[in-house]
Symmetry: C2
Subunit: 197 residues, 2 copies
DNA sequence: CTACAATACGGACCCGGGGTCCGCTTCGCA
DNA sequence: TGCGAAGCGGACCCCGGGTCCGTATTGTAG
């Protein structure tokens, strides 16, 4: 695993592509309007370069997404309350969900592109497993959650589904819901799910 | 709105296409493996015919889906309890959700194809609005549901998200959950959401 | 400074799938 | 039985993801 360091031009081009792609995804309405050729052109680079650097479309999108997600991911994994692991489950769950929702809102196009990438479902494209495991674990830590016969794994799936990019897009876009309305709605729903505990 | 009746051969071909498509979607694993040309060939028909009859890929899939969905739709709209409108909300909601889940399970490929059709989200492809309105209305009819500040519209979205085809596919496919496990999970979750009422 | 691998570049090219077009066929009404 | 209209079908177009390979750059060894 020596991870031979890449050549200078390769690194520069990789960065250029990332930047260009970021711009394009942000500017163009609709995630799928952006073509690989567009990105290559915008980055002043040949298509071959682009594919060598990222493998395929999904790889590129994933790289972008990961970059954006990283600070948030760290905050949840090792940060301070209310997101970090030292938070009591009852506070942590709504906090994480709210943060996740905000993240999706702030990165609509990108999230949409990623979740619609791997044969059209986020269950293969993203780091879905990690989030699910986290939520399930937190739920299981909620005192008395399992008492009603509730399945933490299933509940975690549903709560994640509540923050899916296309749902968020639908609510914020077609239905014209504001950011705060969405957050309030999710918070109320989460509270209700936790309520029986 | 005279709806001039179609010619005999047109009707026959339409039916043949529908049948062929149904077979193909059922037999082939993976919904997107089925190409329009495949369907046309299997139906013994030219591509032109196929597109004339259904407009485009989504149109065809929607037609198939609608045909499958019709009995279920009727049962919910005008049928007897526990699905029909005469059912008290507290029983009707879980019943409808369970039926919806079963429907998705029984029509995995098709539902997957449809929900992944209209630019990748079910919010434009299916009859999403109708289901959402129904669920929201039922939820609003649950005595005391809104007391906790819960938003029936949002809750309806989330509950629908719990029966999305790709989630169901993920759970039943990758995670190997059985039909009964899924139904139990959904029922428990639904109960919890209603629980505070 | 030069030579020479190794690595990267880039755009012409390929391929597969959705959707269209138009000359020919079939239908069905009088 | 004739004749418009409706329908047919498959060759064709387009577009986008992904590949290939001759050429250019890099960086290291001498």
């Amino acid at each position: 695993m020596a991870e031979r360091k890449p050549r200078k031009d390769a690194a520069r081009n990789r960065a250029a592509v990332l930047a260009a792609a970021d711009d394009l995804f942000a500017s163009r309405e609709g995630a799928e309007e952006v073509t690989m050729a567009d990105i290559a052109a915008a980055a002043g680079v040949g298509k071959g370069t682009l594919f060598r650097a990222f493998g395929d479309r999904v790889g590129l999108i994933r790289a972008l997404y990961q970059a954006r997600l990283e600070p948030f991911g760290k905050a949840v994994e090792t940060g301070p309350p209310p997101l970090g692991p030292d938070t009591p489950p009852l506070q942590r769950l709504p906090a994480v969900l709210d943060a996740l929702l905000c993240f999706k809102l702030d990165n609509r196009q990108l999230a949409l592109a990623l979740e619609g990438a791997g044969s059209g479902s986020p269950y293969q494209a993203g780091h879905y497993e990690q989030w699910h495991t986290l939520l399930r674990t937190v739920l299981e830590g909620v005192p008395g959650f399992a008492d009603g016969g509730a399945d933490a794994g299933f509940a975690a799936h549903v709560l994640l589904a509540a923050t899916r990019a296309d749902l968020v897009e639908h609510l914020a876009g077609q239905e014209g819901a504001t950011r705060e309305e969405l957050r309030a709605g999710l918070a109320a729903f989460t509270a209700r799910v936790l309520g029986g505990a």
